[in-house]
């Protein structure tokens, strides 16, 4: 169950099985700009949460803080009960977490296979397992034909796919994906969807940010709407859209005015 208000107290949290992702009072400002304002968000196990919001709403900042890539000014983030920002939880949280960040680089001068091998061994996985999973990921994601292509020469869609492969390689229980479908062609998108559906079916949980409302409606069972660094509404898909399409509900929530054309088109 996804709730903006944190119903469960600390005691309950310890008793009940921990949520897949629990964010409490997360806050981040850059200079005078408040990017994320005391966000509470809970993603239960097995849920597929779509995080939507206008450009500059704070989605990437929020997900970066949730995954240990950006230190929050205050608040806490827990992955399956493990605190992302303090030891000893952080280490365990990173084992349980698979991340696809947006706007961060990959080593341009490695091939896909080299990157996955490096990352698997860096995470302490046994070499045969790394080789096996790398081969399967490259095959399923249709990157095998690019065996000798450096990541720097990948298309935007191929970069997303190899990024997803890095998130999946170590067998995480929670995936946090920032715009995984951006710039991905329809055929590859179908492959990605099948992988993510399979991940949910196997008991995993996913948090995914996206601008594509239709995609979120089709794939996610929970939705959170973020605007100006605050969660405006969260819950099951049905709760959030309340009888409308998600796109209409979203426009109403973020207060988008009627879209206007340009003045000089009229003349």
């Amino acid at each position: 169950m996804t709730t903006a208000s944190a119903e469960a107290g600390n005691a309950d949290l310890r008793a009940a099985p921990a949520a897949a992702l629990e964010l409490r009072g997360l806050r981040k400002s850059f200079g005078a700009t408040l990017a994320v304002a005391d966000v509470d968000l809970s993603v239960s196990r097995g849920a597929f949460l779509g995080l939507v919001g206008p450009n500059g709403a704070g989605k990437t900042t929020l997900l970066s803080m949730a995954t240990g890539l950006l230190r929050p000014d205050r608040g806490e983030a827990r992955v399956l009960g493990q605190d992302v920002w303090s030891e000893p939880g952080a280490r365990r949280a990173k084992e349980l977490l698979g991340v696809l960040p947006d706007g961060l680089a990959l080593p341009d001068r490695l091939t896909g296979r080299e990157l996955l091998s490096y990352l698997g061994l860096l995470r302490g996985m046994p070499a045969p397992l790394v080789a096996e999973r790398t081969g399967e990921l490259l095959r399923v994601l249709d990157l095998e034909h690019a065996e000798r292509t450096l990541i720097g020469d990948y298309s935007a869609g191929m970069r997303k796919k190899i990024g997803l492969a890095t998130a999946l390689l170590h067998g995480p229980q929670l995936l946090v994906l920032d715009e995984p479908f951006e710039a991905v062609d329809p055929v590859s998108a179908a492959v990605l969807r099948a992988i993510l559906d399979g991940f949910i079916a196997s008991g995993g949980s996913i948090v995914m940010s996206s601008h594509a409302m239709a995609l979120v409606e089709r794939m996610c069972d929970h939705v959170a709407v973020l605007s100006h660094g605050q969660v405006l509404r969260s819950g099951t898909l049905a709760q959030v859209r309340g009888g409308h399409s998600l796109e209409d509900a979203f426009a109403e929530l973020v207060g988008a005015g009627p879209a206007r054309g340009l003045s000089w088109f009229a003349s």
């Binding site: 680089a105 990959l106 341009d108 490096y118 061994l121 860096l122 292509t149 020469d153």
Partner: protein, 509 residues
Amino acid sequence: MVRLLIGLRAAITRNQLRQGNRGPLIAGLVLAMLSAAGTLYLGTVSYPRLAAGADVIALVFGLWLGGHLAQRALSGEATLRPEMFALLPLRRRALATALLAVNLADPALILFVVPFAAVIALGAQAGIVPALVGVAGALLTTVLAGVAGTVAGGILGPGARRGHDIGTMVTALAISIISVAGITLPWLVTVLRERSAPWLIALVRVLPSGWAAVAVDAAARSQWLWVALPLAGLAALSGVIALAWPAVLARRMTGAGTPSHAARPHAERRALLPRTAVGAVAAKEMRLWVRDPIRLTPLLIAVIVGAAMCAIPRLTTGTGQLLPFAGAATVVIAAACACNLYGNDGTSLWLTITAPGSGRPDVRGRQLAWLLITGPYALVLTVLLTAISGQVWAWPWALGGLAALLGGACGLIPLASLTWVVPLDDAGNPTPQYPLKVYPTMIAVAITAAPAASVALAGSLAGLTWLGWLAVPVGIATGAALAWKLGAVAARRLRRTQVTVLRTLASAA
């Protein structure tokens, strides 16, 4: 349009300055002004003959011009990238003219007037007419620097990555030659003053950078043909290069050329390294050292400069005393250039942050890779050149020093890389702040050889061979200790600061 473009560049530069740290820029400016003042001074001192002064100034102008071209070839036009204008309905020739004019109005270029004024000062030593010839020569050389720099940046500079890899290699060669000349400058100036190396005189005079000085020298001797020819040559050369500029610009803006990253064979270097976290990092690092021009360029410079600065005295005056230390010099330069690994790797640091417990393997793997890349080469070079030099006394110095430096460098590289992380610029090149990290690192690395060198010195002074040879175990011991200890400090620092470093790199990207 020229005024508009100058305004645009000023606005972009202003915003960059507002965001960035101004200290390094000011330090760089002070350094440049000191060099400029030094060059100007060379025009005011008196020479046995004016011709000798002209030769010295021709040489120094070569360093300025070469350095400017190398800098432009490496970083291109970082502010007003031609690609920004690709979609505007501008006539190509008009845009080319405007961009060239903007480049000629570059404040950095205006600074060049100061060192180039040395030729005026030299002319003034002989009279008013040679001084006036010097004015013309200084202006024409400045224009040549502007025009040639613009075209060099267009051909070899970063623009949609094309040709940049090759450009970086060419630049490495140019920087190496200039560095060697810079390091050996005092010696070269002496040789020119004494006019004892005719080949060097011919070389500095035949290069366009020397033509202004040749004209002034000829004016002092009233050889008017030799005044007119070099000056006309400078003007004509600038004109010819300027004529090529529209074509170079068009080629760049339409993306002609081959992609830089051709498919490369799948190198299985991993077999040599353990299939552990440290081994994986080392394998990745070794691939990057070979494939990434940002890393390979300084390595090539280290190899060329390290060998050349120790071999040149032997080749010219026959003194081979520096030969045994070519390996050590290479190690110091290669280490100093590796002082910003995390800054150069950019935001891919997130992979390390999200992999639990990867701080230590990341540092150790980087150390191992650098040692494997430079160590064997430096050792072979040291043994070979020490043997060739035939200087028996040098063995403990060279071997002990090399061991100490290799270890000290392994320790200092990750630590320096995590101290004041400098991101690359928008075009993926080192910023002017990078050299400000390189030089202190160079000094720090060199100091790590002090214990071994002290022991070798004690051995020499006392005339005890066995004491001198103690420098080798001492070098190995201090090297190993520094590599181990400083690496551990770096690993702790990485764990503590990695999120902050990522933030620095991400906000620069």
